[in-house]
Each structure stands twice: as structure tokens, then as C-alpha cells.
């Protein structure tokens, strides 16, 4: 019963999404790839080749930073999951009505302020002359000032803080949809708290866990501000390298190659995560 009118309507609906995806997502990425395979051989003179990718693999700084960014992001994702799950569970299953809404709102607050502000707050807190250091000193817990900024732990604190919301929200949504009676049935059949968690709650929450992990991983991997502002002299982040290539080195070609590698990495990790957890992108991300 596809009449001509509804055909027309269909194409009218199809036009914006195609424009959006083709012009803003697909073509730019093709363009990025094209630039990444052009090598600069002199002022205003370029030729095609994989030299930029070769540069990435021959310079330890690049691939080490790359690997570091990946591992730290995975670590941050795992940490966020571990810290966020109990909170999501508390909100979804242990609170009702007004309390639930309030706690949920409180989880959202960090998201409502720009990342810059959040990071700025952590800097005020963590620095050697900052609030926590002073607090510890005045409590007599430490003798001198303690430096908590400029290290990987500070980056972790910031990354987890920045992305926890994106873990908690999908988790709350999926856990909310878990019928209490399933948990009760688990206990009724003799399960302990651990067993019920492992066999009933976690499998049910899997789509939420995966969706949360994907988003958190992407946010960490693509983060720029937190590692730059909170990290120390060894705390390099791959997005920082991309920025450096684009801005301070005027080397768009290498920067594009870096960008493409980061994209490949993120796709790979997301793909592996989906395969391992036997979920699909549509099923996890498409339902938030």
C-alpha cells in the first residue's frame, strides 16, 4: 500500500539523514583518510604514501602514547563500571519515588556543567597547595603538603568523574527494567546474594553495561582536557598528540593519520567488546 504520496514522504524523510551522514560523517572521514596518506616532501608539495603511518610505528613516543591511552581508557572504563554499578543498583532497586528522582538528578549534575569546570574543580582540590592537601595537613594526617595533581591517578579521578554519568544512566535504565520478582525468585530458589547478582542481575544488565562501557571508553579515549590539565609530565594522551600535530607542528597529514589510527582503535575495541559480551551495537546503544 505504498502510494505515491507515501513514497514521496519516505524520500523526504530519507534526505536529511543521508545529507547528515554523508556530508558530515562519511565524506569527512574519507577526506581524513586521503589526507593521512599524503606525505609532505617540501613546502606546498605532497605525494601519496603511507609514510605518516610508518612514522607512527617507528617513533616509540607515538605508539607508546597510543597504547597508553588505550590501556588507561580501558582501565578508566573498568573503574567506572565497578564504581558506578553499585550506585546504579542502589538508585534502581533500593530507592523509590522522590528519593530515586533526586539521586538520579544528582548523578546528572556533573554532566550539566562543562567538562572544563569539572576539571578546574579537581585542580583546585588536588594541587599541592589545594584544598585536600591543606585539609590533610590541618587534620594532622600528613606533615607537609602532598601533591596529588600531575599524575595518572589524578587523570583517573578526572576521567571517572567525567564519565560516570554515562555509565550510571544506562545501568539504571536496564536495572529498572529488571523485575524485582526475578531477584526474589532467585532467592526463593536458594540463591545467595552473590549468586543472584552473578546469574540474574548482571546478565540482565548486560546491554546497559556494554552501552555504558562503550560510551565511557569513547569519552576517555577522546578526552583532551582532563589528561592535559590533570596529567603530569609523563601523562601523554593521544588526542593531545593529534592536537600537537595539527596546531603546533602544522602537520595535518600526520595528525590525520593519528586520527585515523585512533578511530581504528576505538572501532576495534568497541567491536571486540560487543563480540565478547555477545551484544550488538543496535541493541545496546540504540535503546538508550
Amino acid at each position: 500500500m505504498q502510494s505515491d504520496a507515501s513514497r514521496l514522504g519516505f524520500y523526504l524523510l530519507l534526505a536529511p539523514i543521508l545529507l547528515w551522514l554523508v556530508v558530515l560523517i562519511i565524506l569527512p572521514h574519507i577526506g581524513l583518510f586521503v589526507v593521512s596518506i599524503s606525505e609532505k616532501i617540501g613546502p606546498r608539495d605532497y605525494e601519496t604514501g603511507f609514510g605518516n603511518y610508518a612514522a607512527f610505528f617507528t617513533e616509540p613516543l607515538y605508539w607508546r602514547t597510543f597504547a597508553r591511552t588505550a590501556t588507561m581508557s580501558i582501565l578508566a572504563t573498568a573503574l567506572t563500571l565497578i564504581l558506578g554499578f553499585p550506585i546504579a543498583y542502589h538508585i534502581a532497586k533500593l530507592t523509590r519515588g522522590r528519593t530515586k528522582t533526586t539521586l538520579f538528578l544528582m548523578c546528572m549534575i556533573p554532566f550539566w556543567v562543562s567538562e572544563l569546570v569539572r576539571t578546574f574543580g579537581w585542580m583546585i582540590l588536588l594541587r599541592e597547595t589545594g584544598v585536600i592537601s591543606n585539609l590533610l595537613q590541618s587534620l594532622g594526617l600528613v606533615d607537609g603538603p602532598v601533591e596529588m595533581l600531575y599524575n595518572d591517578a589524578a587523570i583517573m579521578v578526572g576521567l571517572v568523574y567525567t564519565s560516570i554519568l554515562f555509565m550510571v544512566v544506562p545501568l539504571v535504565t536496564t536495572l529498572d527494567s529488571l523485575d524485582d520478582s526475578l531477584i526474589e525468585a532467585g532467592y526463593d530458589l536458594g540463591g545467595t546474594s552473590m549468586a543472584v547478582m552473578r546469574e540474574i542481575v548482571i546478565p540482565h544488565a548486560m546491554p546497559g553495561i556494554v552501552s555504558g562501557c562503550i560510551v565511557v571508553f569513547m569519552l576517555s579515549l577522546g578526552n583532551y582536557l582532563t589528561p592535559i590539565l590533570l596529567g603530569g609530565k609523563d601523562s601523554l594522551w593521544f588526542t593531545g598528540m593529534i592536537y600537537t600535530q595539527f596546531i603546533t607542528r602544522f602537520n595535518w597529514e600526520l595528525g590525520s593519520a593519528f586520527g585515523f589510527l585512533l578511530l581504528a582503535l576505538s572501532s576495534l575495541v568497541v567491536f571486540a567488546g560487543l563480540k565478547l559480551s555477545r551484544q550488538s551495537l543496535t541493541n545496546t546503544m540504540g535503546r538508550s
Binding site: 523485575d179 520478582s181 526475578l182 526474589e184 525468585a185 532467585g186 532467592y187 526463593d188 530458589l189 536458594g190 540463591g191 545467595t192 549468586a195 546469574e199 540474574i200 546478565p203 540482565h204 548486560m206
Partner: protein, 364 residues
């Protein structure tokens, strides 16, 4: 009603939610191997009672014993009872075999033994060889049986069922009623079944407790509850009934005379508990207890016109409007007599004084 070793004994169980008393001093015993139903309207406290037995709610006061052992303070995973939830609560992330084997896994039973016992119990509920299927690959009635198998594989002393047929459609529900009863007989396990559907309770149970506002109004066999309701609530709730309000005009042993509010005189032969002359009373009269007759003589005979004919095959009925304008629902005989009645026809109704039940009106 009294058994040397009842599987389940509740004495004076009470549950308060803040100021609201959901279950109010309920006491009962369920003998081993019997099918016990708790029947009551929505919100009367059935689920609360069942959840106290399962351990998901602590009684405010009273005791609860299973096989003689008090269950107060025992967590749900340590009680020898299993529960079939209203929406079954099958684990959607597991296949059927894993669902049924869940309880055994928790007890640390070996893999291969779990497998055989799961197969056995699925066999007994008539579902051999479905272990590998996902739960969305079987029908509603089959899910029902899987839920029961999941509990029965643990050999509980008492199986609790919270309106498990509520979600099924009509035809399947009719079928599962019979099936549940025969499963219970086959396993010979004590079933405690709650429902608000009187026909489920009547068809399946050995004993029925009729519950209202947190209290038991009557405990008895289906026959007793249907034919000898001990309170007005039971008479009205179990089965279809015409209610006639009136006043006691005369009282003579078990022979009562009442005048209905419409002015009709009624003769009733019943245990006249707590009734005295002049008191307001309610008479309950089942549609099938009323006969349509052609002549206007005799006890409890009155004339009227057919107000509507509800043809429904074997369950057809008519409503008759008497002179005072009040309506009486009368079941048509299954023999097909009176099938030609039409709206507006004149008829006479008659009923036996022993078929009516009469209760004083509280506070009147």
C-alpha cells in the same frame, strides 16, 4: 481441618504497613499434600500473606511454622518453600534447562546430576526435551509448567502460587486449571494458591479460605464455601447471586419471613444466626436456584416481566423485573426450555426457601 503434622501452620499472623493493617490475625493449617486456595478480592492482602510465608516480608506478629519448625527470622533462601510468581519470573537470560536447574546449582549439586534431575522434572510436567529452548520460544501454558518444574525440582515442602494464571487468556486458563490440579496430585506436594477468580479456586482446591480486608471470612471445601457461605461477603463473592435487601418480619426456629424493600414477602428456611424480628437483613439467592414457572401459586412465587434475555448457550439467563421494579437474574435451564422467551414476556419465578441464604446487615 486438624492434622497431626500439617505442612504449614500460621497462627495469628498479622502484617502492618505503617498504619495500614494488610493482614489481620490470620490463622490456618494446611495438611500435607493438599491444595489450599486463598480467594479474595484485589487488595485484600493475599499477596502479603503469601510473601510472609515465602520470607519476603516479616510478620508484624504471629507465628509461621513449616513442618513444625518456626520460620520467623529465616531468610527466603533458607526456607523449604518455593514460589511460583504471578508473572512467573522465569529468568529471561537463561534457557529452560538453566532456569529449572538454577535452584540445584545453588545447592551445589553436580553438573550431571542436575542434568538428569532437570530432564526428569520436565518430563513429569509434560515437557520432555525442551531444556535447550529459550523461554520466549515456548507458549504461555508451557511457561507455566516450566515455572512449576523449577520449583518442584527442589522438592519443597510447600509450593506457593500467586495468581499464576492471571496473565493467560481465557481458553488457556480453563485448560491450565485442570492441569494444575492434576500436577498437584501427581507431585503430592502441598500447594498454597492465591487467586481472585472464584472459579479457579472452586475447581482446583481441597480447601478454600475466603479473605477480605486482611481477614479470613471462611475456610472450607469448595462445596461448603459455595453452598453454605458463612458470611454475606462470601455469599456475594463466591458465585453469582441476586441480593435482596429487606427486613425480618417473623422468626420461627429456622423458618424466617422477610419483607423485601420492594414489598415482596419471602419465606426462608435457614439457620437464623443473630437475626431478630425487625432487623434489616440481606438475602442471597443464586440465579440457578430460581425457577421460571407458569402459574403464580406457591411459596416464594412472584410475577414479573422479562427485562432482558442474555443468550449465552448453556449459560443463558434472563433478568426479570417484578412489580416493585427490582431485577432478578434467573438462569435458564440447560435443557433449552424457555429458550423462546422474549423481552416483555410475563413470567413467574419461584424458589425453594432452603436455597436462599440470609445475613443480618452489620450496624443496622
Amino acid at each position: 481441618m486438624s492434622d497431626p503434622h500439617p505442612d504449614l501452620v500460621c497462627s495469628d499472623l498479622t502484617k502492618d504497613f505503617d498504619a495500614f493493617r494488610a493482614v489481620n490475625h490470620v490463622s490456618f493449617e494446611v495438611p500435607q499434600g493438599s491444595f489450599f486456595s486463598i480467594l479474595g478480592p484485589s487488595g485484600c492482602g493475599k499477596t502479603t500473606l503469601l510473601r510472609m510465608i515465602a520470607g519476603f516480608q516479616e510478620p508484624t506478629s504471629g507465628d509461621l511454622r513449616i513442618k513444625g519448625k518456626s520460620m520467623i527470622g529465616v531468610p527466603p533462601n533458607k526456607r523449604p518453600v518455593s514460589m511460583v510468581f504471578q508473572h512467573l519470573a522465569l529468568f529471561p537470560t537463561m534457557n529452560i534447562g538453566d532456569n529449572v536447574g538454577f535452584g540445584l546449582r545453588q545447592r551445589g549439586v553436580g553438573k550431571s546430576e542436575i542434568k538428569t534431575r532437570v530432564e526428569q522434572v520436565l518430563d513429569r510436567v509434560g515437557l520432555p526435551g525442551v531444556s535447550e529452548r529459550r523461554i520466549d520460544q515456548i507458549s504461555g501454558g508451557q511457561k507455566q509448567r516450566v515455572a512449576i518444574a523449577r520449583c518442584m525440582v527442589l522438592e519443597p515442602d510447600v509450593l506457593l502460587l500467586d495468581e499464576p494464571l492471571g496473565a493467560l487468556d481465557l481458553k488457556l486458563r480453563e485448560h491450565m486449571k485442570v492441569e494444575l490440579k492434576s500436577l498437584q496430585a501427581a507431585f503430592n506436594t502441598t500447594f498454597v494458591y492465591i487467586t481472585h477468580d472464584q472459579s479457579e479456586a472452586l475447581v482446583m482446591s481441597d480447601n478454600i479460605a475466603v479473605m477480605n480486608h486482611g481477614q479470613f471470612e471462611q475456610i472450607g471445601t469448595p462445596h461448603e464455601v459455595y453452598h453454605a457461605p458463612s458470611t454475606a461477603f462470601v455469599a456475594g463473592f463466591v458465585g453469582d447471586a441476586n441480593r435482596i435487601d429487606g427486613k425480618v418480619a417473623a422468626l420461627n426456629g429456622t423458618a424466617l419471613t422477610l419483607t423485601s424493600d420492594g414489598g415482596t414477602e419471602m419465606k426462608i428456611d435457614a439457620q437464623a444466626k443473630a437475626l431478630s424480628v425487625g432487623q434489616r437483613a440481606q438475602v442471597y439467592l443464586r440465579p440457578e436456584a430460581i425457577e421460571l414457572v407458569t402459574s403464580g401459586d406457591g411459596v416464594n412465587v412472584s410475577g414479573g416481566v422479562i427485562d432482558s434475555v442474555l443468550f449465552n448457550g448453556a449459560n443463558s439467563s434472563v433478568t426479570v423485573k417484578d412489580q416493585s421494579g427490582s431485577l432478578l437474574k434467573v438462569a435458564l435451564p440447560q435443557t433449552g426450555a424457555f429458550a423462546t422467551l422474549r423481552k416483555g414476556d410475563k413470567v413467574f419465578t419461584r424458589w425453594d426457601p432452603r436455597q436462599a441464604r440470609c445475613y443480618p446487615v452489620a450496624g443496622a
